[in-house]
C-alpha cells in the first residue's frame, strides 16, 4: 500500500513539472492531441456520410453530379490536414516539454547534490550516483516523449466512446464497466509486479555501474595480478542479477497487453449473449446492440495501445523514484548569518569596504539590529568537542584546543586516531554533536558555510584534478585570478618549474584526473591551488607524503612562505615537517593524549618520542 502511495506521489511530482513549467505549451499539446484524435474519429463519420448522403443519392441520379463528391473530399482533405498539423504540433511540442523537463531535472539534481553533506558521498559509490544521471533520467525520457502523449490520446478516445455507450444503453454499459474493473485489477497486479522488478532493475544497473567504476579505477592492480578472470566472474554474477530482474520486469509488462485485450474479447461475448437474449425478448433493438458491440471494439483498442507502453512507463517511474530520492536527500544545514566582507581600518575601527582591500572582516548582525565587525584573524578554538559519524559511535572525545593567529598546530597519530576528522570539523564538512568550535571567537555554526570555507584553505591527501589546462586547475580556487597571479602561486609552491617543462607549459591539457602526472606533481598543483586561494587559515593533510626528498625541500620552503602569517593545521605524515610547530597534538583513538611543542614532547619520552625515533609507526 505504501508502495502505491509512493508511486502516486512520483506521478504527481512529474506532472507538476509538466504543468508548472510548460503551462501554455502543454495546453497546446492537449488541444493538438484532442484535434488529432477527433480528426481520426471524423474519418469514420466521413465514411458514413459519404455512403449515405453522397454516393447513395448519386446512384439514383440519371447524370451523376460529382460536384458534391469533390467538395466533400476537399473538405475532408482540409480536416485531415488540420489533423496532421495537430499531430506534428504535439509531437514537436512534446519534445520541448520532455527535453526541457529532463534538462531541468538533471540540473536540479546536480544543484541539489552540490548542497549535500560529505556524508552522503561517503555512503555510496560514484558509479551508483552517476547511474541516476544517465540510466534513470534516460528511462524517464522514453516515457515522457513517447508514452505520455499516447496514453493521453487513448484516454480521450476511450472517454468519448464511453459517453456514447452510456447514451446507447445503461445496463450494457454497466457490463462494460465491470469488465473495465477487472482490467484495472489485473493491470494493477501485473503492473505492480512489473514495477517491483523495474525498481530492482534500476538498482542492479547502478550496481553494475558501480562495479565497472571500481574495476576501472583499479585496472592496474587487476592487470598486475592477472585478476581479469576473477573480475569477470564477479561481473557475471551481478550481470546475471540484472538480467534476471530485467527479464521478470518485462515479462509482467509484456503479458499485460494480451491479458487486457482478451478480457475485452470476453466482455464482447458477454455483451453479445446478454444483448442477444434481450433483443429476442424485444427489450433492445438489433441496431443498438450492433452499435454497442462496435463501441466495445473501439474501446479496447486504445487500452491495448496503452498497455503496450506499459513497460516504458513503469520503468520510467522506477527511474523517477530514484531521481526524486536523490533530490530529497537532506542538504547540508546552513543557518549561518555571519558573513565575510572586505574591510578597512578607519580610526582604529573595522569598517566594511566595497573594494578589495586585502583585509577581511566578519560581519555579525545581532538580534537587536546592531552590526558588529570582527577582523578576520584566523584564530580557532575547540571546546569540549565530541563527534561521531554515526550518532552512537563517538570518534572524537572531549577535544579542547586553541590555535592562536599565525600559529602552526600539528596533529600526529595513527590512522583512525581522528586527525583528519578534526580538520573536517573546522570547515564543517561534518557537524559536531556537542561542544563548541569558535573561529575568531564566533561560533562556527553562526558563520555562513561558504564564507567559512572561503576563509580556509585545504590541501587534501588525494589531489583531484579536472579536465582542462594546468592553468585552469590552479585557478580553480580563485576563478578571477589573473595569469600572473597563477604563475606567482605556482612559483611559490615550486610547481612552476615542472609545469614549464611540460610540452605546453601552463596550457597543457589534463585528462583523466591527471594520470600523466606523477603523484608529486599533482600534489604540487594542489599546493599551488591553495597558495592562490590565499586564506588566513590553512589545513594541510599529508600534503608532502609522496614528493621526493629533493623536491620536498624546495616545496617545504614554499610552504613555509605560504604558512607565514597564517594559522596552519598540519596533519602530519612525516615528523620532520612539523618539528617547528607551535603546538603538536598527539591523538589516539579520538583523544588528545599528549600536547606541547617538539622539545617538550621529546622530553616527556612518551608516544611522540616513540614515533619520532621510529619505534612506532606513524601515518
Amino acid at each position: 500500500m505504501k508502495k502505491q502511495n509512493k508511486t502516486g506521489r512520483t506521478i504527481f511530482r512529474l506532472l507538476k513539472y509538466v504543468v508548472t513549467t510548460y503551462k501554455l505549451q502543454f495546453a497546446i499539446v492537449c488541444i493538438s492531441i484532442i484535434i488529432s484524435s477527433l480528426v481520426g474519429v471524423a474519418g469514420i463519420e466521413f465514411l458514413k456520410y459519404l455512403i449515405d448522403d453522397i454516393i447513395t443519392p448519386m446512384i439514383s441520379q440519371e447524370v451523376p453530379d460529382y460536384s458534391m463528391l469533390i467538395t466533400s473530399v476537399i473538405v475532408m482533405g482540409i480536416i485531415y490536414v488540420i489533423g496532421i498539423i495537430g499531430t506534428y504540433v504535439y509531437n514537436r511540442l512534446m519534445i520541448n516539454i520532455s527535453q526541457g523537463i529532463l534538462n531541468k531535472i538533471r540540473s536540479q539534481m546536480f544543484e541539489h547534490m552540490q548542497s549535500l553533506p560529505i556524508g552522503f558521498f561517503d555512503s555510496r559509490t560514484h558509479g551508483e550516483i552517476m547511474s541516476t544521471y544517465t540510466n534513470d533520467v534516460d528511462a524517464l525520457r522514453q516515457a515522457l516523449s513517447q508514452s505520455i502523449p499516447q496514453v493521453f490520446s487513448s484516454a480521450i478516445t476511450m472517454i468519448s466512446i464511453l459517453i456514447s455507450m452510456f447514451a446507447t444503453n445503461l445496463y450494457l454499459t454497466l457490463v462494460v464497466l465491470a469488465m473495465v474493473a477487472i482490467m484495472v485489477i489485473v493491470s494493477r497486479f501485473l503492473g505492480g509486479n512489473s514495477s517491483k522488478f523495474f525498481v530492482k532493475q534500476q538498482e542492479n544497473i547502478s550496481k553494475v555501474n558501480g562495479y565497472i567504476e571500481e574495476m576501472m579505477e583499479g585496472q592496474k592492480v587487476v592487470k598486475v595480478f592477472c585478476y581479469e578472470e576473477e573480475s569477470k566472474k564477479k561481473f557475471d554474477k551481478i550481470n546475471e542479477e540484472l538480467c534476471d530482474s530485467t527479464a521478470k520486469a518485462n515479462i509482467y509488462a509484456n503479458i499485460l497487453m494480451p491479458c487486457i485485450m482478451n478480457i475485452g474479447n470476453l466482455g464482447y461475448v458477454l455483451v453479445a449473449v446478454i444483448g442477444g437474449i434481450l433483443s429476442v425478448n424485444g427489450i433492445l433493438t438489433i441496431g443498438s446492440i450492433a452499435a454497442f458491440l462496435q463501441f466495445i471494439k473501439a474501446f479496447t483498442n486504445p487500452i491495448g495501445q496503452v498497455s503496450q507502453q506499459m513497460n516504458s512507463i513503469i520503468m520510467a517511474l522506477a527511474g523517477a523514484e530514484r531521481i526524486f530520492d536523490l533530490m530529497d536527500e537532506k542538504p547540508e544545514e546552513d543557518d549561518g548569518y555571519v558573513t565575510l566582507v572586505n574591510a578597512k581600518i578607519e580610526e582604529g575601527k573595522v569598517v566594511e569596504s566595497k573594494e578589495r582591500t586585502g583585509i577581511w572582516a566578519w560581519k555579525h548582525p545581532h538580534q537587536d539590529g546592531r552590526i558588529t565587525y570582527t577582523r578576520l584573524r584566523g584564530q580557532v578554538q575547540f571546546e569540549n568537542v565530541n563527534f561521531g559519524y554515526e550518532p552512537k559511535k563517538t570518534v572524537l572525545h572531549d577535544i579542547t584546543l586553541e590555535a592562536k593567529e599565525g600559529q602552526k598546530v600539528s596533529f600526529v597519530g595513527a590512522t583512525g586516531a581522528g586527525k583528519t576528522t578534526i580538520t573536517n570539523l573546522i570547515n564543517r564538512f561534518y557537524d559536531i554533536q556537542s561542544g563548541k568550535i569558535r573561529y575568531d571567537r564566533i561560533n562556527i555554526q553562526k558563520i555562513k558555510k561558504d564564507d567559512l570555507r572561503r576563509s580556509l584553505g585545504m590541501v587534501l591527501q588525494d589531489t583531484n584534478l579536472f579536465t582542462g589546462t594546468i592553468k585552469d586547475n590552479i585557478r580553480y580556487s580563485k576563478l578571477d585570478a589573473t595569469d600572473e597571479e597563477v604563475y606567482a602561486a605556482a612559483k611559490l609552491s615550486n610547481a612552476d618549474k615542472f609545469i614549464r617543462n611540460l610540452p605546453e607549459g601552463y596550457d597543457t591539457q589534463i585528462t583523466g584526473n591527471g594520470e600523466g602526472l606523477s603523484q608529486g606533481q599533482r600534489q604540487l598543483l594542489s599546493i599551488a591551488r591553495a597558495a592562490l586561494y590565499n586564506p588566513p587559515v590553512l589545513i594541510l593533510d599529508e600534503a608532502t607524503s609522496s614528493i621526493d626528498t629533493r623536491t620536498e625541500k624546495i616545496v617545504q620552503e614554499g610552504m613555509d612562505k605560504l604558512m607565514k602569517g597564517r594559522t596552519v593545521f598540519v596533519i602530519a605524515h612525516r615528523l620532520s615537517t612539523i618539528r617547528n610547530s607551535d603546538l603538536i597534538m598527539v591523538l589516539d583513538h579520538g583523544r588528545i593524549i599528549e600536547r606541547g611543542n617538539h622539545e617538550e614532547l621529546m622530553a616527556k619520552q612518551g608516544t611522540y618520542y616513540g614515533l619520532y625515533t621510529g619505534a612506532i609507526e606513524i601515518d
Binding site: I59, Y133, E213, F235, K449, G512, N513
Partner: protein, 584 residues
C-alpha cells in the same frame, strides 16, 4: 545497419531459442487477432440480426476459445521476448566487460572510463529495448500489414493498388528521416559522455569543491553540458517528430483517394457500398500497423548510435596482446633493458618519458631506484610486466623479450606493488588471495609475516576476515602498504617490484621487511623504488633516475663518489644525524 545486426547478433547466443520462439508466437497471436473480429462480425451479422441466441452462444464459445488461445500465445511471446532481450543485453555487457579486461591502458584512455561506463549501461539498455521491440512489434506490424493488404485486395484489387504506390513512398520518407536523424543522435551520445565525465569528476573531487566553496562554479559547468545534451537531443528528436505526421499524411491521402475512386466505382456500378467501407476499415488497420512500426523505428534510430558505440568497444584491438605461440615459462629473474625508449600514447613525438635506457639486472639481485618527482621511475618498472609496451628497443626477462611471453605467465612471474595501492571491498584474506586464489591460511600468514603484516592483522577482532572498505580506508597507510606487499609475495614471483610502497611504514619495520626479503626469497629479483635512502642503501645496485634517463648506477658507496644527485639526496636525509633520517 546490416553490418550492425550481423555483428551484434553473435551475442544472442543461448537465447536463440527465445529469439526465434517470440516471433512465432507473435504470428500465432496475430492470426488469432485476425480470426476474432471475423467471429465478432458473424455474431453481429448473423446472430444478432436473426435474433438467434443459440448461434450467438455457439460463436461465443468459439470466440472464447480463440481469446484463450490468443492470451496464451500473447503471454508466451511476451515472456520469450523479455527473456531474449534481457539475455541479449546480458551477453552484450558481458562481451564488453570481458573485452575491456583485455584492454591496455592506451585502449582505456582512448575511450575514458566514463564513456565505457555509459556504453555498458545506457547504450546497452537502448539496444535491449530496441531488440525487444524488434522481435515483438516489428514482426507484428508487417504481419498485420500483410493480412490487411490481402483482405483489401480480396475486396477490390484495383483500389488497393493505391496502397502499393503509397507504402514505398512512405518507406522512402521514413528512411530519409532516419538518415537525417542518425548523426544527431551520435552527437547526443558524445555529449552524454561529457555529462557523465563532469559528474564523475565532481564526485571524485567533492571535497575540493566544498572546501573551496565552488559549488556554484560546478553548477555552471554542469549546466553547460546539460544544455548541450538538451540542445542536441532536441535537434535530433525534432527530425524524428516528422515521423507520425508523414505517416498520417500518406494514409489520409490513401483514404481520400479510395473514397473518391470508390465513389465513382460505386456510381459506375462496379462496386458495392459495403466493400468500400470494408476497404477503408482495412486502410485504418494498415495505418495502425504502420504507427506501430514507426514507434519501433524511432527506437531503432536511437539505438543504432548506441549499437555502434557498443561495437566500437567490442572491436577495439587491445594494443597489448599475446603473440602467437607465446612463451609460457619464465626461466629466471634476469632483466635486461636494451636501448629502451618509451613515450606515452598521447604524448608528442619528441617527448619521451624514457630515453635510451640500458640496464642489466641479474636474478636475485636487489635494485634500488631513486630520483626526483617526474623522473619516470614508475614508468621504468611498469614496462617490465608489460603494462605498457616500449616504443623502441626491447626488454628481456629471463632472457626472453617480454612481448614474446604469454601475458599471464609474464605477469604471474612479475609481482608489482603499485605506488597507488588499491585494496578492494572485501576481507583482508580475500584481498590477499588476489595473489593466489587457492592459498591456504598458513600461506597467507607466512607471507604476512614476511611483510610484517601478520602481527597487526592478528590484533584485529576478526583477524584475516576483517572487512576492508572500498579503497581500504579503514586500515592505516602503512598497514595498507604491508597488506599489498603480502599480496604480491603470495604470487611467489621471480621478480618483485615495490614502487614507493613502504613510504608510510616506519623505518624499523621497513628494515625488517627488507631483511625478510633477503633471507626468505633470495632468488627473487627485487626492485625497490623509494624516496628515502635508508630503504635502498643496502641494495646491490642503485639506479639514479633523472628526467627519463639513468643518471648513475652503482652501490651506495660508489654513487656517493660519482653521482651528485645521489650525494645531495643522501646528505639532505642524513644531515642532522640519525634522527632526521628515521622520521622520514
Amino acid at each position: 545497419m546490416i553490418q550492425i545486426v550481423k555483428k551484434l547478433s553473435k551475442y544472442i547466443k543461448e537465447y536463440k531459442k527465445e529469439t526465434i520462439l517470440t516471433p512465432i508466437f507473435v504470428v500465432l497471436e496475430v492470426i488469432m487477432e485476425v480470426i476474432i473480429p471475423l467471429l465478432m462480425a458473424k455474431i453481429i451479422d448473423v446472430g444478432i440480426q436473426n435474433g438467434d441466441v443459440g448461434y450467438i452462444l455457439e460463436m461465443g464459445v468459439l470466440l472464447i476459445i480463440a481469446a484463450i488461445l490468443s492470451l496464451t500465445f500473447g503471454m508466451l511471446s511476451g515472456r520469450f521476448a523479455a527473456k531474449a532481450s534481457a539475455g541479449f543485453a546480458k551477453n552484450l555487457r558481458q562481451g564488453m566487460f570481458y573485452k575491456i579486461q583485455n584492454y591496455s591502458f592506451e585502449n582505456i584512455d582512448k575511450f575514458s572510463t566514463s564513456s565505457l561506463v555509459t556504453r555498458l549501461t545506457t547504450d546497452v539498455t537502448n539496444v535491449q529495448m530496441a531488440y525487444q521491440m524488434l522481435i515483438r512489434i516489428f514482426i507484428r506490424g508487417p504481419i498485420m500489414l500483410i493480412f490487411s493488404l490481402i483482405m483489401a485486395f480480396g475486396i477490390n484489387a484495383g483500389l488497393s493498388c493505391v496502397f502499393l504506390v503509397a507504402i514505398p513512398i512512405l518507406g522512402f520518407a521514413l528512411w530519409f528521416i532516419a538518415i537525417k536523424a542518425h548523426p544527431n543522435f551520435e552527437k547526443v551520445f558524445k555529449k552524454y559522455d561529457k555529462l557523465n565525465r563532469v559528474v564523475q569528476e565532481n564526485l571524485n573531487a567533492i571535497r575540493v569543491v566544498k572546501s573551496y566553496a565552488k559549488e556554484d562554479y560546478e553548477k555552471e559547468k554542469f549546466k553547460e553540458v546539460n544544455d548541450e545534451v538538451y540542445n542536441n537531443f532536441k535537434k535530433a528528436e525534432k527530425i524524428v517528430a516528422f515521423n507520425s505526421p508523414v505517416m498520417q499524411f500518406t494514409i489520409y491521402t490513401c483514404v481520400l483517394l479510395i473514397s473518391f475512386l470508390g465513389a465513382q466505382a460505386i456510381v459506375g456500378g462496379t462496386m458495392q457500398t459495403g466493400e468500400l467501407s470494408s476497404i477503408i476499415t482495412y486502410a485504418w488497420q494498415i495505418l495502425m500497423s504502420l504507427m506501430m512500426l514507426s514507434f519501433v523505428f524511432v527506437m531503432v534510430i536511437i539505438s543504432e548510435s548506441s549499437a555502434e558505440r557498443i561495437i566500437e568497444v567490442l572491436e577495439e584491438k587491445p594494443t597489448i596482446q599475446n603473440k602467437e605461440n607465446p612463451v609460457t615459462e619464465v626461466k629466471n629473474g634476469d632483466i635486461s633493458f636494451q636501448n629502451v625508449t618509451f613515450r606515452y600514447g598521447d604524448a608528442e613525438e619528441n617527448v619521451h618519458a624514457l630515453e635510451n635506457i640500458n640496464l642489466e639486472i641479474h636474478s636475485g639481485e636487489t635494485i634500488g631506484i631513486i630520483g626526483g618527482t617526474g623522473s619516470s621511475k614508475s614508468t621504468l618498472v611498469q614496462l617490465i610486466p608489460r603494462l605498457y609496451d616500449v616504443t623502441q628497443g626491447k626488454i628481456l626477462v629471463g632472457g626472453v623479450d617480454v612481448r614474446d611471453y604469454d601475458l599471464q605467465t609474464l605477469r604471474d612471474a612479475v609481482a608489482m606493488v603499485l605506488q597507488k595501492n588499491v585494496l578492494f571491498s572485501g576481507t583482508i584474506a580475500e584481498n590477499l588471495r588476489w595473489g593466489d586464489k587457492e592459498a591456504e591460511q598458513e600461506e597467507l600468514e607466512k607471507v604476512c609475516k614476511l611483510a610484517q603484516a601478520d602481527s597487526f592483522i592478528q590484533e584485529f577482532p576478526s583477524k584475516y576476515d576483517t572487512v576492508l572498505d572500498q579503497g581500504g580506508t579503514n586500515v592505516s597507510g602503512g598497514q595498507k602498504q604491508r597488506i599489498c606487499i603480502a599480496r604480491a609475495l603470495l604470487k611467489k614471483p621471480k621478480i618483485l617490484i615495490l614502487d614507493d610502497s613502504t613510504s608510510a611504514v616506519d623505518t624499523k619495520t621497513d628494515a625488517f621487511i627488507r631483511k625478510a626479503f633477503r633471507e626468505s626469497i633470495p632468488n627473487t629479483t627485487k626492485i625497490i623504488i623509494a624516496q628515502r635512502i635508508s630503504s635502498i642503501e643496502d641494495a646491490d645496485k642503485i639506479i639514479v633516475m633523472d628526467e627519463g634517463k639513468i643518471h648513475g648506477i652503482g652501490t651506495s658507496e660508489e654513487l656517493l663518489k660519482t653521482d651528485e644527485i645521489y650525494r645531495e639526496v643522501y646528505e639532505t636525509q642524513m644531515k642532522g644525524g640519525n634522527d632526521n633520517e628515521e622520521t622520514k
